[in-house]
Point group: C2
Chain length 213, copies 2
Amino acid sequence: MSVPRRSAADVATSRARSVEAAVDVASVEGLEGLTIGRLADRLGMSKSSLIGRFGDKEAMQRAVLAAAVARFTEAVWRPAEGARPGIARLEAIVDAWIAHLGDGTFPGGCFVTTASVEYDARPGPLHDDVAAVVRRWLRVLEAEAARALEDGDLPPGRDPADVAFELHSLASGGSVAGRLTGDPAALTRTRAAMRRALGLPGRPSAAGQRVAG
Amino acid sequence: MSVPRRSAADVATSRARSVEAAVDVASVEGLEGLTIGRLADRLGMSKSSLIGRFGDKEAMQRAVLAAAVARFTEAVWRPAEGARPGIARLEAIVDAWIAHLGDGTFPGGCFVTTASVEYDARPGPLHDDVAAVVRRWLRVLEAEAARALEDGDLPPGRDPADVAFELHSLASGGSVAGRLTGDPAALTRTRAAMRRALGLPGRPSAAGQRVAG
DNA sequence: ACTTATACCGTACGATCGTTCGTTCCGTAT
DNA sequence: ATACGGAACGAACGATCGTACGGTATAAGT
């Protein structure tokens, strides 16, 4: 009665708004902890309207995951895209990655990490989605590492897949442990470890130090 | 009527059995994914009996966490306890850790890692419990690293807390990514990365290779 | 101005959640 | 022989879960 209906043109952005809000919730509560009811309340709409946009809960979860990945890509890959392929781009990725973990993009920490843990041992479409995302990111890192190896910027004999795996492990493990224990130096430690994994010198920049954005 | 009641002397072991079964479930579904009903079904008892042992669900979750930590301590710390403090003990810890991640102790992967992600952004008693556990383990690792540094077995200037943090990040991040993507080399990669973090040579032992126990 | 399409809502559903209650029965001590 | 502590039970609670259905009000099309 008093609530203005939204025009059809707003629908796309309305769905997008729903997803963005869901990303924020799920980054804290987990993708599995998302509930239609709470999210609808948060958005000021009814459960039926919310679920109507997606069909069912699983479709919503997949949309939320995709949106979170888009955030990550924008925050970490995009800034490094312009750098020269190889070690320089890896260095840029590390910087952007650390900055991303430190800013407020995901209130509850890296979304993909959370989703990885939620679905690493539970089969289903969401497991497959998350696994595909992680595999894709690992391939990106591996390709850059391979290029760095070609250029002689990594020790001969180093496995590019190892490098990619190590960077990913450090980022996800480090961000979780840091937030859990409240260690303010966690990101600095993580950045240092990632640079060590790449054979880069200790502290050439303090760009990864910012804490909130 | 037909179900034999358990004697009072069995209660302690009965509660222990409940907890052990809960650990298995929670290692897959997460500590938050534990439900009284499903667990009671799995144990072949009523919901009221199960919850009666603990008081409420949160108390049960805390008991489950404690039991999981005991398993971890038994599997990772105990075998390394006998080693000489310092780099030798760290090396033994890494071997036991990798072996532990590879055996079937936790069907759904490292329990503490799962719990860390679940509660890293959610305050409450469980968050505090998990954080305390992780902090304690980091202090153990740090103490060994400090000893190794004294002994000249780590590069001068290396921060023992950094070493501890890095080992922990690699173990938790690596085990999750490995199980998620199904990379069979994940544990080998993780072990190599942990040894690199300690400045240990590449492949002096294949003890971390076993997959099931 | 009238029809059609479509957001959105309220309501209701069956299931399951954690929890509480009163009762039954066993083992042990008196 | 009998009273008592406690372990386990089934039933039921209010709440919340995901989902389905029918109605209503608005925007777009003619």
